[in-house]
């Protein structure tokens, strides 16, 4: 069985140009370093970013030949990570943000579900075009469709108001939709938002 290479050998191999040595070093210490960073920042994405920045510094230092802590690779990397964590908190202190506490998130209360100006214009245009198309329908179908879609009436209420059975009202609604689709297809009208 082949024993895993020691850090100083891997570092030396990497400095000599063996890129595979870096892969072994990263994979060997990945969990330990990432968990250390995560235990401080408690955010998976930020931990990932700091891990990446840590190894960018490691790579640059090793490639520049500026590494002189032979035999202490992991503590050296941990110190870089620690400094980057401090930088992260310093940056955040300068730019404080409100994140809420526990399960409460202020943005779930302040959410804006309104359409932006462009989408509102498109929506208005579609509704306007649809209104013109409905005008093209036979009167009995138009009546049922308007009651159902614009006045939100049930088919029972429609049947009572128009003096026809529920089945007839349903049938008229069905034909109204079929005819609307036919008009749309025939005139190559695009109704999308």
């Amino acid at each position: 069985m082949q024993l895993p290479a020691e850090d100083p050998i891997l570092v030396q191999n990497y400095i000599s140009g063996d890129e595979k040595a870096l892969e072994i070093l990263i994979n060997k210490h990945n969990q330990r370093i990432t968990s250390f960073i995560y235990s401080k920042v408690l955010d998976r994405a930020i931990a990932e970013d700091i891990f990446q920045d840590t190894f960018i510094k490691v790579i640059k230092t090793l490639k520049r030949g500026a590494y002189n802590e032979e035999g202490k690779f992991l503590p050296w990397v941990m110190r870089i990570a620690h400094n980057l964590i401090i930088d992260h908190f310093r940056r955040n202190k300068r730019m404080p943000k409100f994140e809420g506490s526990g399960d409460f998130n202020i943005f779930s209360v302040l959410g804006d579900d309104k359409l932006d100006a462009e989408r509102q214009l498109i929506k208005d245009q579609i509704e306007n075009d649809l209104g013109l198309l409905i005008e093209e329908l036979p009167d009995d179908q138009k009546e049922v469709l308007i009651m159902r879609m614009y006045r939100d009436m049930s088919f029972k209420e429609i049947s009572e108001n128009t003096g026809v059975s529920i089945n007839t009202a349903l049938g008229r609604m069905r034909y109204a939709l079929i005819n609307l689709r036919k008009i749309i297809d025939k005139n190559n009208i695009v109704l999308t938002n």
Binding site: S35, Y38, E48, F55
Partner: protein, 47 residues
């Protein structure tokens, strides 16, 4: 009884950087070239 477990259990979570992050670092390392010219180090990223 003395509280011997951490206040935030989540702090002890074992996490690993994603394979994509590791791959990025390996690619970054391969593309990084540092040239020493008359005592001055020049960094090149050969993408």
């Amino acid at each position: 009884m003395e509280q011997i477990y951490p206040e935030k259990q989540d702090k002890c979570r074992l996490v690993k950087a994603k394979p994509e992050t590791v791959e990025f670092l390996l690619q970054y390392s391969k593309s990084l070239n540092i040239v020493n010219h008359k005592g001055i180090k020049f960094e090149n990223n050969l993408n």
